[in-house]
């Protein structure tokens, strides 16, 4: 293959996902119309689009903001708790042996099942929604941060000790940065889970938010509108994932290239 055809092939490969989508949408539309599928079972893409523009942008914005706020604040809180907790666990064998089983138990309890309990415990304000989001995003963050910090080469720890550096420096200047590639992987998982957490919370108790809007729409059999909200949610989730990726690439470029040695 000449260089030109290779580069053409590369361009083709790049647009392949968009091309797939461009083929699926008309096929979806066609099948729904051909077999006269009722819109409350599976709406056509054009139905969904119509439902989307039928709702005011302001209203979309209101619901989007409600969900995004819970997801982002919950995610930030989760980071603030999980990273220091991981540092403590790495620093002390005793703490890690005590805390780890508790974390595993919390993680194995389905958060969706705890959600109604949390609402009764915390009332119907923002607090239970943030708690649910925290609970669901917490585990991948703790595990990735702990794994990353434990993966620090022993030689570097020896070097730090041979320099008689204070122990907090061993954690902050060596272990924590070393864990960043792992932490970013955990963040990518956690940030999409944060949206799930916010939506679950809205299912249980909320007056606004995209999750609430989906439930509201389906209860009135406005299925195309629910689909529109669902697609909106996926796009938001994807956007957050991309945002984490972008922050990593821009500020922590070195975490993207694997060390050779």
């Amino acid at each position: 293959m000449s260089e030109l055809t290779i580069s053409k092939f590369q361009t083709f490969k790049r647009y392949l996902p968009a091309l797939t989508l461009a083929l699926i949408l008309p096929a979806w539309e066609l099948i729904c119309r051909l077999f006269e599928v009722p819109s409350y079972i599976l709406p056509t893409p054009s139905d969904i689009y119509q439902a989307f523009i039928a709702v005011d942008l302001d209203r979309w914005g209101l619901h989007l903001w409600a969900t995004l706020k819970v997801a982002l604040v919950g995610f930030a809180l989760s980071m603030l708790i999980s990273i220091p907790l991981a540092m403590l666990m790495v620093n002390s064998k005793y703490l890690s042996k005590t805390l780890y089983p508790i974390l595993v138990v919390v993680q194995s309890t389905p958060v969706v099942a705890i959600a109604p309990l949390l609402i009764t415990m915390f009332g119907s304000g923002e607090a239970p929604r943030l708690a649910i989001t925290c609970l669901i995003t917490f585990f991948p963050l703790v595990v990735s941060a702990t794994t990353g910090m434990m993966a620090t080469p022993n030689e570097l720890i020896d070097l730090s000790r041979s320099l008689r550096a204070p122990r907090y420096k061993e954690i902050f200047a060596i272990r924590l940065p070393y864990a960043l590639p792992h932490i970013f992987s955990g963040m990518k998982v956690a940030v999409t889970l944060a949206i799930i957490g916010a939506v679950v919370a809205e299912f249980v108790a909320a007056e606004q938010g995209l999750g609430y809007f989906i439930q509201f729409s389906t209860s009135f059999f406005k299925v195309p509108q629910a689909f529109a909200a669902l697609i909106f949610l996926s796009i938001v989730s994807l956007g957050l994932f991309k945002l984490v990726h972008w922050v990593q690439a821009y500020f922590f470029g070195w975490t993207m290239t694997k060390e050779k040695a």
Binding site: P153, E155, L156, S162, I174, Y178, K260
Partner: protein, 271 residues
């Protein structure tokens, strides 16, 4: 030569996870003169890593004493620089900052004088064109050069090198050996060089210590009387192959008289 580093009857035990004591070193005694280049060769399990940790003050021996300048080593000290088997650079710092890492890690900031010192070390290891590159952009040999510069930053009297070239390919390894000799010539240091390679040991060292495994013991001490500066031509000399043969002989068919049989196994109990 006046002894600079001395080990007196050093024995060391460590505990396995099951709580069983394992002897890593048994009655090891030797001394290193100032600015002497000593190589330690021996198979795996001969306690080379334990030796490194004892000398750097990261551990205390179970029995015996490790002395530097006649003072027992009780904690890590600035007079020692360590080069590890893997370069273990910090992937988020460029070459210059990696070399400056010991000072920054210890005190938070480097002075202009220290920064200039770092630049001249980077030049000495031949990386002046790569000073602002990241470790991920360097080859294995280049990374280990950064590791050597880092170990030399605090201007240590003693340089401990733990199989520093074992992760490199054969060609780079040879080149690095000669470079190390040049650096050692430019700024003389007391060097303890741990290696698996017999020819590397003979080529570099003034004295070769042969260790035998399980428990780690010193089985023979061989002074290498080859003229310096040494080069690729040294390898072709008859004396060179005589030394390597003798060391190989000692490793594979040790003369048993050097190994003392009766030991203090019972002292293990009060660990």
């Amino acid at each position: 030569m006046k002894p600079f580093v001395t080990l007196d009857n050093v024995s060391h035990y460590y505990m396995t996870d099951e709580g069983k004591p394992v002897q890593a070193l048994k009655d090891v005694s030797f001394s290193i003169g100032k600015n002497e280049f000593v190589a330690v060769v021996g198979p795996s399990g001969c306690g080379k890593s334990t030796l490194l940790r004892l000398l750097s003050g990261l551990m205390q021996p179970t029995h015996g004493s490790v002395n530097i300048f006649g003072m027992p080593v009780t904690e890590p000290r600035d007079e020692i620089g360590i080069v590890f088997q893997q370069p273990t650079l910090l992937p988020w710092l460029n070459v210059t900052d990696n070399v400056l890492f010991p000072i920054k890690h210890k005190r938070g900031r480097a002075t202009d004088k220290e920064k200039a010192q770092a630049q001249s070390l980077i030049k000495m290891v031949g990386l002046e064109d790569f000073a602002s590159r990241m470790p991920g952009e360097l080859s294995g040999g280049m990374q280990q050069r950064v590791g050597i510069a880092r170990a030399l930053l605090l201007d240590p009297d003693i340089l401990i090198m733990d199989e520093p070239f074992s992760a490199l390919d054969a060609l780079t390894r040879e080149e690095m050996g000669f470079d190390l000799l040049r650096i050692w010539n430019e700024s003389p240091k007391t060097v303890l060089f741990i290696t698996h390679s017999i020819s590397e040991a003979v080529l570099l060292a003034d004295k070769v210590l042969i260790m035998s495994p399980r428990p780690g013991r010193l089985s023979e001490e061989i002074p290498i009387d080859l003229p310096r500066p040494r080069s690729a031509a040294t390898v072709r000399e008859k004396a060179f192959s005589e030394y390597t043969d003798r060391i190989r002989q000692q490793i594979y068919h040790p003369k048993t008289e050097n190994i003392t049989a009766v030991t203090d196994e019972k002292k293990v109990v009060n660990l």
